[in-house]
């Protein structure tokens, strides 16, 4: 081979360039990711999962859940909503002002201009930041996923196919442990037309002893085991549900801001 050294050099450059692009650049960009603080709060995010939920991540992995479920919420845009907080001393003027204004789905500059107009007539308005996009519209999350969401996942179960819904925020969306267990045992009993296969081998059907087990599943009408029997989850099922319930991406962060509705001020 006459140009052996040149071929070697060309291959080295080609492989080296892709290594820089696919390995080095992401590590430089996100390798130092650490906990961040929640917006308007001193609390850190994320906190590590409890041990049972960590085990559940391995159950999730074992059963190939990531083949049909993703854990990444996408966001295609951001919008501002105006919320009137005070009508001031001249409610009529404020009403006139807002009747000519668009209040939802504004961009930042339009929202600022609208707030100025309302303030000029004595009212008070707040700008609420809202994430938009198909995933948000489906209720799969309030914001897009960011690198910090996966800080304590090993391995990260991003997934790429959405035969089922995205699970990045499932713990906030469906926080009922019994619902999750029933759904694993018989998906169609709680989600009609679900395409999910039942995971019955994660459960035991047993005769009710002297008293029903405290962790026996509570089924919707017409779906339970025959009378005198009960369905109890195995440790695997409980770990998996603990993991699912720990999947919460519902707090606003600097990298993914949105306005959190205030639950605390309610009595």
């Amino acid at each position: 081979m006459k140009n052996g050294f040149r071929v070697f050099l060309a291959a080295l450059i080609a492989l080296g360039a892709s290594w820089c692009g696919f390995v080095l650049a992401p590590v430089l960009q996100l390798g130092g990711t650490k906990q961040t603080t929640i917006l308007n709060s001193p609390d850190l995010y994320p906190v590590g999962r409890p041990g049972e939920a960590n085990q559940g991540l391995q159950v999730y992995r074992t059963h190939g859940c990531a083949a049909c479920h993703t854990e990444q919420v996408q966001q295609s845009g951001v919008a501002c909503d105006l919320v009137l907080t005070s009508a001031g001393n001249n409610p009529m003027a404020v009403t006139n002002a807002i009747s000519s204004l668009k209040l939802n789905d504004l961009d930042k500059d339009a929202a600022d201009a609208a707030v100025d107009k309302i303030t000029a007539v004595g009212g008070k308005a707040e700008i609420h930041i809202v994430a938009t996009g198909p995933d948000v519209a489906r209720g799969w999350g309030r914001r897009h996923s960011i690198a910090e969401d996966y800080l304590y996942d090993d391995p990260v179960q991003l997934g790429s196919v959405r035969i089922g819904p995205d699970l990045a925020d499932v713990g906030a969306r469906l926080p009922d442990a019994n619902w999750q267990l029933v759904h694993l045992y018989a998906p169609q009993s709680v989600v009609k037309d679900s395409a999910m296969p039942p995971f019955r081998y994660l459960f035991r059907i047993q005769k009710i002893g002297r008293a029903p087990s405290p962790n026996a599943l509570v089924f919707p009408k017409g779906f339970g085991p025959p009378a005198g029997y009960e369905v109890v989850p195995t440790a695997r099922a409980q770990e998996l549900v603990a993991y699912l319930l720990s999947l919460r991406a519902d707090v606003p962060l600097h990298d993914a801001p949105f306005t959190q509705p205030l639950a605390a001020s309610k009595p």
């Binding site: 917006l39 966001q75 707040e126 606003p252």
Partner: protein, 202 residues
């Protein structure tokens, strides 16, 4: 004699094929440069300059910054709750119900649901000593000036949170309001007691 052994034939199999040196067609150069230019334009618009904090749909750190929820009433209350839980909640409770024999309840208290901020803002800034009647019960208090070390804006947020939580309904307290009260520390008899507080405008 087989073919392989013939060495001096015109088509020698071990001869490496060569290409003649010809210049790269100009259209390839133009196409490559155009693509590079478009790639650079795309990067400029969408990369966020490789900032690890910028995700789509945001395109720059400045844009992300402009969409941070600003301090409105909701942000005030959120910050107020955080500070309250850190400082005040230990005695007055996260639910505002207080602690028997130690801290009176804030929920529904006549000292919190006042018309103005004069009385309620003086309490964390100066503390309360002696007896104080809250919701029909007499408390013998020795509350230190827990809010004196807080910044004006934090204290304003806490007071706004207290006055708008657990069923309380009071007007918001602004940073300027707290400044006014802080300037008046010592303008009335010390220590702050029920009688002194009553003398303040409601």
């Amino acid at each position: 004699m087989s073919d392989e052994l013939k060495s001096n034939t015109p088509q020698r199999p071990d001869l490496e094929p060569t290409a003649s040196r010809s210049p790269v067609p100009i259209w390839i150069v133009v196409l490559t440069l155009t693509l590079l230019f478009l790639v650079m334009v795309y990067f400029d618009r969408h990369s966020g300059w490789f900032n690890s904090q910028v995700y789509g749909p945001y395109v720059s750190a400045e844009e992300l910054e402009s969409y941070q929820p600003k301090s409105g009433e909701a942000a005030m209350l959120a910050n107020g709750k955080a500070r309250y839980d850190q400082v005040c909640g230990l005695c007055h409770g996260a639910d505002g119900m207080g602690k028997p024999n130690q801290a009176p309840p804030l929920a529904g208290s006549e000292w919190v649901n006042t018309k103005s901020f004069r009385r309620v803002a003086s309490i964390p800034l100066e503390g309360v000593n002696g007896s104080l009647e809250v919701k029909g019960q007499t408390w013998n208090l020795s509350m230190p000036a827990m809010g004196a070390a807080m910044s004006d804006s934090d204290l304003a947020d806490v007071l706004t949170y207290i006055r708008n939580s657990w069923g309380n309904q009071g007007s918001p307290v602004t940073t300027d309001d707290v400044k006014v009260i802080r300037a008046k520390i010592g303008a009335h008899p010390q220590p702050l007691t029920g009688e002194v507080l009553k003398a303040l405008p409601e």
